[in-house]
């Protein structure tokens, strides 16, 4: 019996060694992931199409081997100016593109002798080019086939984060009335819009730095009435929408500035109701908030 078990144990140990020595993820972070803003978050009058990572003067590497297809050096007269600062665009295979913005490229990019960037190569250094006050790199990932920006968190290895999202300032709103939750007052029946500030806090900086979340749901008496997940951003009839979960545009999901979200309209019937909001960040940390109130 012992002699039969030995090869199986050896194969298992070899397998463990193989897994341990290789990353299970095909893609890698361009720099250490100290996240400052996340995909599809609000706050700037439009969806964020990528993520911003805090990094000062760090070497920026491609998420995967790719071929240079576009580059911009800040100040180039041949181009329109980009608030993205100096950036490079790599193509991975035939469908995926990644963009690395706010780089410090020097003038080397003008020569463009280098066209293929293996995974371990350095694209440039994270800098302060373009519209950024905190040095770092913005990463955008685009699927050419599906014509949509993809949430980089869906491709990249998970990051360490234990803090749960924050749900605050929840309100029931209709034309001229606002009921903040929780409430002890009796709410009138009818259609109410639910709004709330929903955000996650960045651990990259010691100050209060809100970021978006990955998923938000609204339940009324246990039934899901609203759900959005920030997977991709796709253009439909000239409007960018969150896909595939909700198809909501920026104006349908967020108030103009900040992190106040529109969580849909609910029809409140008389009785004691349970309204629950659930938020999940990009790592998987969840926060649930339950409100119980009477409707007449």
């Amino acid at each position: 019996m012992k002699s039969k078990k030995l090869p199986i144990t050896l194969i298992f140990l070899l397998f463990c060694d193989f897994v341990g020595s290789r990353s299970l993820w095909a893609y890698q972070w361009p720099v250490e992931p100290r996240i400052l803003s996340v995909f599809a978050q609000g706050g700037r009058g439009g969806f964020e199409r990528g993520i911003h990572i805090l990094a000062s003067g760090s070497e920026v590497k491609p998420i995967e081997e790719g071929e240079l297809v576009f580059s911009y050096l800040e100040g180039s007269t041949a181009s329109i100016p980009y608030p993205l600062g100096s950036f490079l665009v790599l193509q991975h295979g035939s469908t995926l593109r990644s963009l690395y913005a706010h780089l410090d490229l020097g003038s080397s990019v003008l020569n463009q002798e280098k066209k293929i960037y293996p995974k371990g190569d350095v694209l440039g250094k994270s800098g302060l080019t373009g519209a950024t006050s905190m040095g770092g790199v913005s990463l955008l990932v685009y699927d050419l086939e599906a014509k949509q920006f993809v949430n980089p968190f869906l491709l990249l290895p998970p990051v360490k984060d234990t803090s749960r999202p924050i749900i605050r300032d929840v309100r029931l709103e209709k034309k001229e009335k606002t009921v903040p939750l929780p409430t002890t007052e009796i709410v009138s029946r009818g259609m109410w819009e639910v709004t709330a500030e929903v955000f996650d806090l960045s651990g990259a900086v010691p100050t209060f730095w809100p970021m978006g979340v990955y998923k938000v749901s609204l339940y009324l008496n246990g039934q899901e009435r609203f759900m959005v997940t920030m997977d991709t951003l796709k253009e439909q009839e000239g409007v960018t929408r969150v896909h595939p979960s909700s198809g909501l545009s920026y104006d349908q999901l967020y108030f103009k500035d900040g992190f106040r979200m529109k969580l849909g309209t609910v029809n409140l019937n008389p009785g004691v109701l349970n309204l629950e909001i659930a938020a999940r960040d990009f790592v998987g940390n969840e926060k649930n908030q339950l409100y119980r109130f009477r409707v007449e």
Partner: protein
């Protein structure tokens, strides 16, 4: 009887002589040259008094950005206004926007520094043929605005804009998936076309003539290709498709000249002049990198500056590809070059120089 051969002989000699003069004309002793009109030092104090300012703002002056200074110079070559550039600046004859890296609010001022309007945006402004645009913070949207602060139209493409140009009423937008859009005066899509070249579909250059008559683009890789369209009563029709030797993976320098219909573009080996006809291609070999290009309908030339380690050169070339003149400017300082209605403005070493092309 013997007169006839003499008469034919005379005719033959006359024809040979006319042909010879036509083919090998005698030099007149004159050639086209760049003639210096004036030099203006941008370190000099502004040469007007405060109460002259409002009047001067209405007078024609040339705006410039040279390094970290922007300003205006009168027709006579006097510095009439200057200020330090924050992050970058857009300067036109009618006014300018001097903006910081994170703008939030763009302030539009006239050529004397009087505030004309303000625009709330996180994008960066740029001009194309006297039309003002603002590209969004992530480069995926654009808006046309007026100097008075009115938003004419706004578009979001959910894709990176990789090239853009404007005519009088239409706007050409090239996207990173190879989509070319032609937008009308209110931003409406007039026509849309997907240009693919191998697996790499990026539009590196879009150019429109000032009169909207012609549209040209360069796109794709391996090889890089170009297309010329011409406006017809039923829309824009392709008139020529061509291949380039270049392999640029960045925005390219190029203009489409309204007078000649020539598409003048930088090439990997120099510069290419692409006409409407299949055989209308002139390639000019150059070792230096191409900087700005300026067409000159008055002189029948186009001028462009090139850059190499020793400095800059301004070259005048005919549309047939004949090199007319080269002017070397041995400087590695910030450089500025612009052609306006037959006059050429060059800035380097904290000076602005005005040239005209003359027969001398």
């Amino acid at each position: 009887m013997n007169d006839k051969p003499h008469r034919y002989g005379f005719l033959l000699y006359s024809l040979i002589l006319i042909g010879y003069i036509g083919l090998f004309p005698l030099p007149l002793g004159k050639e086209l040259l760049l003639d210096l009109q004036w030099i203006c030092s941008i370190d000099a104090p502004v040469s007007i008094t405060e109460n002259q300012g409002t009047q001067l703002a209405k007078e024609k002056s040339i705006g410039f950005v040279l390094g970290k200074t922007l300003g205006y110079i009168s027709d006579a070559g006097d510095l009439v206004y200057k200020e330090s550039v924050l992050h970058a600046a857009v300067v036109t004859d009618r006014g300018f926007i001097n903006y910081s890296a994170i703008p939030e609010v763009l302030v539009v001022k006239d050529s004397r520094g009087n505030i004309l309007s303000t625009l709330k945006t996180e994008g960066y402004p740029f001009m194309r043929k006297d039309r003002l645009f603002i590209v969004s913070a992530d480069g995926c949207g654009v808006a046309e605005v007026t100097l008075e602060g009115e938003v004419r139209w706004k578009k979001d493409f959910n894709q990176l804009i990789t090239s853009m140009d404007a005519g009088t009423t239409v706007t050409a937008v090239g996207l990173w998936d190879g989509t070319l859009l032609l937008l009308g005066p209110t931003g409406e899509v007039i026509t849309q076309e997907k240009l693919t070249q191998g697996p790499y579909s990026v539009i590196y250059l879009s150019a429109l003539t000032k009169d909207d008559r012609m549209l040209g683009v360069v796109f794709g890789l391996k090889p890089q290709r170009g297309i010329l369209w011409e406006k017809t009563p039923t829309g824009y029709k392709r008139v020529r498709s061509f291949q380039l030797s270049s392999d640029f993976r960045r925005p390219m320098q190029g203009i489409l000249d309204a007078n000649t219909g020539m598409f003048i573009i930088e090439d990997s080996e120099g510069i290419s002049l692409i006409g409407r006809g299949e055989k209308e291609t002139v390639r000019i070999a150059l070792k230096e990198r191409i900087g700005a290009i300026a067409a000159s309908p008055i002189d029948g030339l186009f001028l462009f500056c090139t850059q190499q380690d020793e400095g800059y050169k301004i070259r005048g070339i005919t549309y047939e590809g004949r090199k007319v003149f080269i002017k070397s400017l041995p400087t590695r300082e910030p450089f500025w070059f612009q052609g306006v209605e037959g006059a050429y403005f060059v800035g380097f070493n904290k000076r602005i120089l005005k040239y005209r092309v003359v027969l001398g």
